[in-house]
Symmetry: C2
Subunit: 197 residues, 2 copies
Amino acid sequence: MTLVLASRSAGRRAMLENAGLTFASDAANVDEDAVKGALRAERAPVERAAEALAELKARRVSPRHPGCLVLGADSMLECEGRWFDKAPTMAQARAQLLALSGREHRLVTSAVLVRDEQRIWHHTAVARLTMRPLSEAFLDSYLEAIGGLALSSVGCYQVEGRGLQLFASIQGDFYAIVGLPMVELLGQLRTLGELPS
Amino acid sequence: MTLVLASRSAGRRAMLENAGLTFASDAANVDEDAVKGALRAERAPVERAAEALAELKARRVSPRHPGCLVLGADSMLECEGRWFDKAPTMAQARAQLLALSGREHRLVTSAVLVRDEQRIWHHTAVARLTMRPLSEAFLDSYLEAIGGLALSSVGCYQVEGRGLQLFASIQGDFYAIVGLPMVELLGQLRTLGELPS
C-alpha cells in the first residue's frame, strides 16, 4: 500500500486505520478561504467546491510522493445557499447553530485520489440533516457541555457525540458526515490493486 | 432522567453515553433462540422478531424499575429469507460470511421503551448492505486479522472496523447497523420530557 493521506483530520486518519489500511500522512497547506471565495464568486455549487478543495489538497503534496496514491478530502456544509465554516469563537459557534436551527442543511464530503499530480478518482457523498428548533436555553447548555469541541467541526456540532441531540432527522450517506466516503474509497483501492479482494 | 438500558451491549451503552444521556443498565435474561424459533415457526417478518425481542428484554426488567423508562433493543440480520445469529465458532463465522458473500442482506434494529410493563414507544430501523463476492483467500486473511471479534456481532463483521472492506454498498439507516435508532430515540425522550429541548 502506497497511500498518503493529505489531511490533518484525526477523524479521517482513524477511519482509515479502523478499516485496516496502511498509509502515511502528509497534510497540505492550502488557503481554503481563498479557494472558497473564488468558487463562491463564480457561483459554484457546494459539491464542486468540496471536490476542488479535496483535489487541491492531494495535488499539493503529490510531488513529494512520486508514484504514490495521495488522498485528499474536504467536507462542506450548505444551508439555504449559505456555506458554513468552522467557527473561530464560541459566540460565532452559537450564531451558526442558531442559523441552522429548525432548518435542513447538507453536508457534502468529497474525496479525490491523485497519483503523480494526475487525478485518477473522485467521489462526492451527500447527507441531509434537519436540525430541530433549538431553544436558547438548550443552546447555552449544549455549548457549555461541549466547550471547545464546538470549534472543531464545520457545523459546530458532533453527530458522533452530544451533537446528535440537535437533530430531528439525518438522511443520506452517513459517510458524508464522518468525512470520507469509505465504501467507495475502499472499492477504488481494490480496483487499483492496492487492497486485496 | 430515569432511563434503564436493558441490554448488555457495550456499543449501545457507549452510544447513549456519547449522546450525553444519563442512564442505568440492567440487562435482561431472555432465551432469544426460543423466541426466534417460535416467531420463525409462525413466519413472522424479521422486523417483527426484532421488535418482539426488544420489547421482551425491556418488559423482563421493568418490574425491577417502577416508574422508569426501560429501553430494550435488538438487531437481526436477514438474507434471502434466512435469519443469521452470532456465530459460536470461527468455522461457523467463515460459513456465514460465505453465505452473505455477493448478496444483499438487511440489518434490522428495533428499540422499545417500556414503563411499568407497558410499551409506550417503539421504532424499527432498516439498513441494506451488499457484501461483495469474497475470495477464500481474502476471507481467511480477514478472519485471521479480526480473530474473536468475528464472534461478537450478528453478521460476523464489524462495519466500524475492518469489516468495512467486505462491502460493495451500504444504504438505509446507518443507526440500524450500529444498533440503536438514536435520532428517533432522542426525539421520543424529548417528547416524554426526559431530555431538554
